[in-house]
């Protein structure tokens, strides 16, 4: 089947989509957007987190056909041309090691700060509780989100 959707603000069309295929597969394999990672395909790791009509979801658990006509934002859509505040903060805080979890965490953290510009540590932990990282031990990730929030506050 054919699926029409908007990805990072641009209308996209995917052809020959198998009906049981996930949105993640469409993004990575059909639309050339490999930023969203595929690690578990069962909703456990969050490395495939994208926003579907603004809401963070696991792209591996959205059927491609369910995305028809919807708006998707992937990690590629966070910083157009330059790094977004959250991306910058992840680098500056040393929150990236192997990087596999990073795209999902960035999308989740970006959404958190959009709704809650000054999150408490509990808020950050809760917002990122669906994203696993096997490298960093999470401390630097928490630092990065705090840093992004602080910089936004200063800028804002």
């Amino acid at each position: 089947m054919r699926v029409n959707l908007t990805v990072n603000g641009r209308p996209q069309q995917a052809d020959d989509v198998w009906e049981g295929e996930s949105l993640l597969y469409v993004l990575r394999e059909r639309l050339g957007l490999p930023g969203s990672k595929n690690a578990c395909e069962q909703g456990e790791c969050g490395s495939c987190t994208v926003r579907l009509d603004g809401v963070p979801v696991c792209a591996c658990l959205v059927a491609a056909g369910q995305a028809e006509g919807r708006e998707v934002v992937t990690v590629e859509g966070l910083g157009e041309g330059e790094l977004s505040a959250v991306q910058r903060a992840f680098i500056d805080a040393g929150a990236v090691q192997c990087g596999f979890c990073t795209p999902g965490l960035l999308v989740a953290a970006d959404e958190l700060l959009e709704h809650n510009p000054q999150p408490s540590d509990a808020d950050i932990r809760e917002a990122l509780s669906g994203n696993l990282c096997r490298c960093t031990g999470y401390e630097k990730i928490l630092d990065a989100v705090r840093l992004a929030a602080a910089r936004r506050g200063e800028a804002g």
Binding site: M1, W18, E19, G20, S22, E41, Q42, G43, E44, G46, T49, V55, P56, V57, C58, C60, L61, V62, A63, G65, Q66, E68, A108, E126, A127, S129, G130, N131
Partner: protein
């Protein structure tokens, strides 16, 4: 495979009547895992995402009529006062990403004994509104679970809504697992006081082939609260009363040993959760202060 995308409820019912083997997909948090892992190859998927009614609720009457596909995140935030037990249970499901998609209708459709909605629905009092082109059936939630991952839906039926009694007293939900996120319950317990009727109701998850109520424990506590004049006096519960309630709740379990826990542990833990949630709801009932601790 075929992908059916009905634009409205009537169209969805017609599609399900025409293709009874079509697998409905709402949040997809159960269905897509099965497809990704090749555990299931349905000939058709029936997408419910475009059916607006399934994403709304009505709170006018004594019951909340909750659309089958309303995601957990909205229940947590927007139905907290009407459905406190379900809102607490919803908050323990998976992760934010899962709660943004997963729904009570999907939890009922999957009918896993570990589904977190079930104990809360049993304790609150709920009816499943199942509909087909033949008409509507109201199925008491107790009768909805027919076996491990089996439910009372006919092949041509879809869940339109869940009718849940609006809370008139404190409700609690507690779940045992290895961490606070992304945990399938080792066991779970829900507790609801119904001060109007002067009854209590309970629900147990993950400790029997289906979710169950601890009826003997409910009857015992309902009688003790009545005969002991507790509703009038609002005095603290005798420790022996709470202990017996816990013992009877544990007795309602029929658990198995599996990777998540042994049968003996589950039985013990349900007894502890029953006592603990009873203490919380009674404290809230008598002081008006809600408990926000997690179990």
């Amino acid at each position: 495979m075929d992908f059916l995308r009905p634009a409205g409820w009537a169209e969805a019912l017609a599609a399900k009547a025409e293709h009874p083997t079509a697998v409905p997909i709402a949040g997809g948090t159960d269905v897509m895992v099965e497809i990704n892992f090749d555990h299931r190859r349905p000939d058709r998927l029936l997408d419910l995402n475009r059916i607006g009614e399934l994403y709304t609720w009505e709170t006018d009457g004594p019951e909340v009529r909750l659309g089958a596909a309303v995601p957990y995140t909205r229940i947590m935030h927007e139905l907290r006062s009407e459905l406190p037990g379900l809102a607490l249970a919803a908050h323990t499901v998976g992760s934010p990403q899962i709660r943004n998609r997963g729904s009570v209708g999907g939890n009922l459709g999957a009918a896993s004994p570990a589904g977190d909605c079930h104990p809360a629905l049993l304790a609150a009092g709920a009816t499943v509104e199942a509909e087909s082109v033949r008409g509507t059936r109201l199925i008491p939630v107790e009768e909805f679970y027919t076996g491990v991952k089996r439910n009372a839906l006919a092949p041509d039926e879809l869940i339109r809504a869940i009718r849940i009694q609006r809370a008139t007293g404190p409700q609690q939900f507690a779940k045992v697992g290895t961490r606070n996120a992304m945990v399938i319950a080792v066991c779970a317990f829900a507790m609801a006081l119904h001060p109007g009727e002067r009854t209590v109701r309970t629900g147990i998850g993950s400790a029997a082939p289906t979710p169950v109520r601890a009826r003997t424990a409910e009857d015992f506590l309902t009688a003790e609260l009545r005969d002991g004049g507790y509703w009038e006096s609002g005095r603290p519960l005798e420790p022996s009363l709470a202990a017996e309630f816990g013992r009877l709740a544990a007795g309602a379990c029929n658990p198995i040993d599996d990777v998540r826990g042994s049968a003996a542990y589950r039985r013990h833990a349900v007894g502890v959760l029953a006592r603990r949630t009873l203490a919380w709801v009674w404290a809230e009932h008598t002081t008006g202060e809600e408990n926000h601790r997690c179990a």
